[in-house]
Symmetry: C2
Subunit: 322 residues, 2 copies
């Protein structure tokens, strides 16, 4: 194995391709993973805009193969996906059973830890999950965003009798729709592009346009647009005592009438990273099938073009491979 | 019985005393109630500032005696309190079991229904609850705000092991503190005035000042200050995955970082009117004792002075009697 690798590098909001970045060896408890495929998500695009002051290798959605795992030889050669929050296990939040909210956490490709847009990456072995043999790389790479979609069902109990609206039919919105429809709820997705209707053409998923949106009707509304206009639509759509799930991370303020939240007794719930095992189960069983979401695949050397493509409106999942 | 009565009247943000307002007779299903005592709350004060464009007799916290109840003679002479939302029983929200969110609702002294700051008022009989004989008027008049405090426990499950912070030690904040401490939770109240510490000097209720507030610590934070600064404190105080209950109705915008709500997975829950029967039970058993909250009592003719007194910072409950 060589001592350097190709990688994308983010610094001062500028993304560049670097052909020779040093490969760091794994610390005790860590694995060195050879990246097989990685996905560009909205958070990566926001980071380039300065959403978070990160310097280093971005990327947090990946499938890879373990090549070094000191002390844990059974992991060598395994094809894995990885949870992105690296927890200290000492702080109040870790001890309260919330490692994804660790006060000292590093986050793969987002905070204090180089990410997956490189030939190799490091992660603690405890963060890794083996990928079932029947799930190809191009499907397994959706494990992390599907886990984020499933976090909604970790947080709120979706009753089968409920009327649920997903606002935003992008990459994450479609995974949310595919997972929520499995609850038996009456599921609708607000779409802006004709292509999204075709992508959502699956049993039980209904589409509507903004003109067709009924006010104060929905029991649960998921805001997954990545823009502030999405929240305003969600606020109009939710019924009294209904719930709005906030799924977008973007730089900006949430602004809404304080007393109307009180008078209508609305719930707002922020929602971030979720559980990997059910995501892998749903990908293996095929109940969630993200294959229609794959747009294009680029090499790391083409990384800048890949990011530009991923940022186009209505664009689906852009993948990177070494 | 005469055909006119004394009342306070709100019109174009001006509150006035009127010695001769017509007494309307009860419609079928309604009771005519002689007001014995009524309380001025923050919503009344906000209405005078223009929070809601109401014209008529304000007031929604009261104890009274039923004097007419066509077709329901057993109610005559009963001492009662009354729920303030008058529901249609036809609309989608009523049929979904949410009469306090009726789309056509009238609200006593707040929307399309004359209120309690008068010698007589009208309410549907279904809204009335008899007051136990052992509960004096000056205590029973707190039924409506205590019910609003108990709405928190209708909405969220307070675990006995949780750390709970109430921000705002005014009239409503104190009733919230007195009801939440009964759950066994570790209860703290943020106070701004030394007098509030003395009022909160009850078993299990702890006080702290803004300087002593620990960040990201509290499982549940109740915002009951009636001002936008209260929400900013609540946002700082709540732990990741914690809950903020919004209890204030004031004119203004809620403004907060969108992505920090998502990253910390915070829940915001608006909370309004609550259940009367448990409020009456807790007043009867004495587990909640609002007697320390009574400040002064005025006649209707002194209503303007009463409102001025109620609006003073740190002022407790100002009562009106005919």
């Amino acid at each position: 194995m060589t001592s350097s690798m190709q990688a994308l590098w983010l610094e001062d909001k500028i993304l560049s391709y670097r052909p020779e970045v040093p490969i760091n060896p794994p610390n005790p408890g860590e694995a060195l993973i050879r990246m097989r495929i990685a996905g560009i998500c909205a958070t990566d695009l926001e980071m380039v805009k300065g959403y978070y002051p990160f310097t280093g290798i971005p990327g947090h959605e990946f499938v890879g193969e373990v090549v070094q795992a000191p002390g844990y030889p059974t992991w060598i050669g395994q094809r894995v996906v990885g949870e992105i929050n690296i927890a200290c296990h000492q702080c109040e939040n870790c001890r309260a059973g919330m490692p994804t909210h660790c006060q000292q956490r590093r986050v793969l490709g987002i905070k204090d830890q180089h990410g997956a847009f490189a030939e190799y990456l490091l992660l603690p072995i405890e963060n890794l999950h083996p990928v079932p043999a029947s799930v190809p790389d191009e499907i397994a790479v959706f494990t992390e965003p599907l886990a984020a979609a499933l976090e909604i069902q970790e947080q709120v109990h979706i009753h089968p009798g409920e009327q649920v609206l997903v606002i935003g039919a992008g990459r994450l919105g479609q995974l949310i729709a595919q997972s929520l429809v499995l609850t038996g709820c009456d599921l609708w997705v607000l779409v802006r592009h004709e292509a999204q209707r075709q992508q959502l053409n699956r049993p039980g998923i209904h589409c509507l346009s903004e003109d067709e949106l009924k006010r104060q009707r929905w029991d649960l509304v998921v805001e997954a647009t990545g823009s502030s206009s999405g929240f305003q639509l969600a606020r109009q759509a939710v019924r009294p005592r209904g719930t709005i799930i906030l799924k977008s991370t973007y730089k900006g303020e949430l602004q809404t009438s304080f007393s109307s939240l009180v008078v209508e007794e609305i719930q707002l719930i922020g929602s971030r990273c979720g559980p990997f095992p059910p995501a892998l189960r749903l990908l293996e069983s095929g109940h969630v099938d993200p294959s229609i979401l794959i747009a294009e695949k680029y090499s790391l050397a083409e990384g800048k073009v890949a990011f530009e493509q991923a940022a186009r409106p209505g664009m689906l999942k852009v993948l990177l491979a070494p």
